[in-house]
């Protein structure tokens, strides 16, 4: 195996790599052993502290908190994708009176931290006479932030398309809306799908910020459970259990993102990607790729850029 950084190892390098492997194992083992030792010493493995999680009612509470987390995530995900499309199209508009305000809004939403936005909605609005549920504050803040980030991703996707795509669309008589809807957006979405899904992972993680503005989601429940004196204040225990749930949910979403990215990479025409290095695979006459997304215009425009 060879990479940019190292060649196929010789006998000396193999020996050195083995030594490094042992050193790594020892270092990581030492850190983990130390943490486990401290945990054991401070009595974190005692049955009373973990006993909390043997009760069905506790798991019912966890399930309902999980429902709250997923409710915030689901609504925020759908709405932020919608807002992302809206802002991306608005930002690419030909009219200045649309483009400039939308650009300002996008940049503003992106620059304000999500938590400050949530606080503005939850703590700030009541002082001007509008009260808001924590749920609404969490969802609106997430939508505003992730929507503007997705808008930027979509815009980058649209702008990275070869100009010939748009010109060909106009040439066959489509209007602006048709060019956007039928030609530019489908390709941009396809290219940006991994980015969109990994942004959804961020949305999922950011629902945990609702904890700070008292939205009763998973982490809020963890804090509540940890104040249970009867079970010896199981703070680390509930953090481990709730953390496990978060990690599993995010890993599932990340796996989807990675899978999509893998699919994109296998596709023969990913502009600028590693697939751009030409490999000669004999194309069969009935290969579906021939009919899917190859246009002569794109080939010409790519050649034009290279020269």
């Amino acid at each position: 195996m060879t990479s940019v950084l190292y060649d196929v190892p010789g006998p000396k390098a193999i020996l050195r790599n083995r030594v490094l492997a042992v050193v790594t194992l020892l270092a990581v083992g030492a850190i983990i052993a130390f943490i486990v030792y401290r945990l054991a010493l401070s009595g974190q493995f005692s049955a009373t502290k973990w006993g909390l999680f043997t009760y069905a009612t506790i798991w019912e509470q966890i399930l309902s908190a999980l429902g709250k987390t997923l409710a915030a995530f689901g609504l925020a995900a759908v709405l932020s994708v919608a807002l992302g499309f809206l802002l991306a199209i608005g930002r690419l508009s030909d009219h200045r009176w649309v483009r400039i305000p939308i650009t300002t809004i996008t940049e503003l939403f992106r620059a304000v931290p999500v938590l400050v936005m949530m606080m503005l909605l939850y703590y700030g609005l009541p002082s001007v006479g509008v009260s808001m549920e924590p749920y609404a504050a969490v969802v609106i803040a997430l939508v505003a932030y992730n929507g503007s980030v997705l808008a930027e991703a979509l815009r980058a996707g649209i702008e990275s398309l070869p100009r010939g795509q748009k010109e060909a669309g106009y040439a066959i008589g489509l209007r602006k809306s048709g060019v956007m809807r039928l030609i530019l957006l489908p390709q941009a979405v396809r290219a940006m799908l991994p980015v969109i899904v990994s942004q959804l992972v961020v949305t999922m993680k950011d629902t945990a910020l609702g904890f700070i503005i008292t939205y009763p989601e998973l982490l809020y429940l963890a804090k509540q459970l940890s104040s249970n004196v009867q079970f010896g204040r199981p703070l680390l225990q509930s953090a481990f259990v709730i953390g496990g749930i978060y990690i599993v949910m995010c890993l599932i979403l990340s796996a989807v993102a990675k899978w999509l990215e893998g699919r994109m990479r296998r596709s023969p025409k990913r502009p600028g990607g590693p697939a751009a290095t030409t490999t000669t695979i004999p194309v069969q006459p009935d290969d579906p790729r021939l009919h899917r997304d190859g246009t002569v215009t794109e080939v010409i425009s790519v050649q034009g850029e290279r020269s």
């Binding site: 950084l5 790594t24 401070s42 992106r110 982490l219």
Partner: protein, 218 residues
């Protein structure tokens, strides 16, 4: 304006603490991120595995939960006491390190293998292959995403406010819970948002400058 000049002392500490968390977390993230990034591209499979595990585990944990572990969980271990500020810096540094590591790995992967092969073929030793051929090329493609990581880090410092670090986002509670301080929650939070917008725009400006300076001309 009363909100600012009536609470000038509080704004001072809040901005100092925010910048402390940002800089402390940034330095920690850079150091740890370089180590983990090096592990992820190393020829030692075990080191690669450890790096991948660390990155995947921490990246899929909400930052709030990382803070929860460090700020609330650490005292339960009975180790020497640390202030919430230090624990917050540790939490945000360890979280951001995964992003730094990923940026570095992606940057190194953008360098075509042929570059290093050619360098080896003309007989350069490892040190020179790195310092003259691979790293200069990787550096250019690392700068813009690295700045984005730091912008995200700056915005993430607000999470520390939920864990009793007296920084900008916590200012609302400090001002409104104290008697006789001027300013409604809305005013305070709008000014906080304004400060963040200014700081983020400043960093974006630096990012654009650096990007222009080190753009790859092909």
């Amino acid at each position: 304006m009363d909100v600012i000049f009536g609470n000038l002392d509080l704004w001072g500490t809040a901005i100092t603490n925010t910048l402390l968390v940002f800089l402390g977390g940034g330095v920690l993230a850079l150091v740890l991120g370089v180590v983990v990034g090096a592990m992820r591209v190393s020829p030692v499979p075990i080191a690669r595995g450890v790096g991948t595990l660390y990155v995947n585990l921490i990246r899929n944990t909400p930052l709030t939960l990382v803070f929860f572990f460090f700020v609330l969980g650490y005292p339960a271990l009975g180790l020497p006491k640390m202030s919430t500020l230090v624990l917050g810096i540790l939490a945000i540094g360890i979280y951001t390190a995964t992003y730094v590591a990923e940026v570095l790995r992606a940057g190194i992967n953008t360098v075509p293998v042929g570059q290093a092969e050619a360098a080896r073929a003309i007989g350069l030793p490892f040190g020179q292959v790195m310092s003259l051929v691979v790293l200069p090329q990787a550096f250019r493609s690392v700068v813009p995403p690295m700045m984005s990581v730091f912008i995200a880090l700056l915005k993430n410092t607000t999470v520390a406010a939920g864990f009793s670090v007296a920084e900008l986002a916590a200012l609302r509670a400090t001002i409104n819970d104290a008697a006789g301080r001027p300013g409604s929650p809305m005013e305070v939070l709008l000014w906080v948002a304004f400060v963040f917008v200014v700081l983020v725009l400043l960093l974006s400006l630096v990012q654009n400058r650096l990007e222009k300076k080190w753009r790859i001309v092909r």
